[in-house]
């Protein structure tokens, strides 16, 4: 992953407070069902491996369930969308590829922890586990389709902002 820089000053404490106080959308239980062949393929693979996609693996926030707006300063003049994942201790996201990156033109993915690293807050990217990061660090995927996953084997909630940019499809 490519380190872009630190944007800690841009992160507002009230965002963190709201995210910690709110439940968010329980994924996969409350999330969308597969709506593309790539998502269906990964879904089927996960079910076959034993993941129970009817339960709560993590919690998700986007523009529809938070009171604040996210306008990443490193995405100026780019078409972007974002989501935030909250993982309680024991929550996880299996290794996967983001389906939208397969379809979007010139997709770029960014990973932005909203908290300083705490033991057990793991982000897995290929064969690497990202640790020792600081809130507001921005990392860009080498390839937006690279496999990744996450787990919280620590003792505090874990909050991460995900940002994806792509070229406008006119």
């Amino acid at each position: 992953m490519k380190y872009i820089g630190n944007f800690k000053e841009w992160i507002k404490q009230e965002w963190i407070d709201e995210l910690l106080m709110s439940k968010g959308m329980a994924r996969f239980k409350e999330g969308p069902q597969p709506d593309s062949p790539i998502m269906q393929e990964q879904w089927d693979k996960a079910v076959k491996a034993g993941y129970n996609l009817e339960t709560e693996y993590f919690y998700m926030f986007d523009k529809n369930n938070v009171s604040f707006e996210i306008n990443p300063p490193w995405c100026k003049d780019k078409n972007f969308h974002w989501w935030i994942t909250k993982m309680l201790p024991g929550n996880c996201m299996p290794i996967h590829t983001d389906p939208h990156t397969v379809y979007e033109s010139n997709s770029q993915r960014y990973w932005v922890p909203l908290q300083d690293y705490q033991n057990g807050h793991w982000f897995v990217y290929n064969d690497v586990v990202i640790t020792d990061y600081t809130a507001g660090d921005v990392y860009q995927y080498d390839d937006s389709r690279d496999p990744h996953g996450a787990i919280n084997v620590g003792i505090t909630p874990r909050l991460v902002l995900q940002v994806s940019t792509h070229e406008r499809m006119d």
Partner: protein, 176 residues
């Protein structure tokens, strides 16, 4: 960082691995503490959101496998005369994990300087098969790779975010 000892893949017998895959093992922590004779009221339950009633991995103690004697008598690298050797397997199905922790050692009166701890994967590495020792991950690895924990009391944790089962042989030596 874990100390790499060497690879002993030829020592790992496919029928051992098959037995571990086909049998469930002890559901941990849910059933492990009962099996150890620990009463629930005696457990420290400052669990920060984890529950001792959850099943986050499966454990096989020496008595739980048919190949106990064969494995014990042929353990590679481990000098049999140096101390009491004990071993156990941990099996992680996809989505299972072991939270960050330090082994009990000092808390139960064991001097960690008189312990050696080893780690050997019995199943092939895949992305999402994670073992973290302090802040270093072992990845990728080969079946039969043997590592020593330089400090048996160091923080460590594990997880399986992949789609294949992950089985690890853990070895402890109580030095004389």
């Amino acid at each position: 960082m874990m100390k790499y000892i060497g690879n002993f893949k030829s020592w790992v017998k496919p029928d051992w691995v098959q037995e571990l895959i086909e049998n469930e093992g002890i559901a941990s922590p849910r059933d492990l503490w009962k099996r150890e004779g620990i009463h629930e009221e005696d457990l420290v339950t400052d669990n920060k959101g984890y529950s001792i009633h959850d099943v986050t991995q499966y454990v096989f103690k020496e008595a739980d496998v048919s190949f106990r004697n064969e494995l014990t008598q042929t353990l590679p690298h481990i000098s049999q005369g140096k101390g009491e050797v004990n071993w156990w397997f941990t099996k992680y199905l996809p989505g299972q994990y072991l939270p960050v922790h330090r082994d009990l050692g000092g808390q139960i009166g064991i001097d960690n300087s008189k312990i050696k701890r080893y780690w050997m994967p019995f199943t092939p590495y895949e992305v999402g098969h994670i073992y973290l020792y302090e802040n270093s991950i072992i990845a990728p690895y080969e079946v039969g790779d043997l590592f020593e924990m330089p400090d048996p009391s160091a923080q460590h944790a594990a997880a399986n975010l992949g789609v294949g089962v992950r089985i690890i042989l853990n070895i402890g030596v109580d030095l004389i």
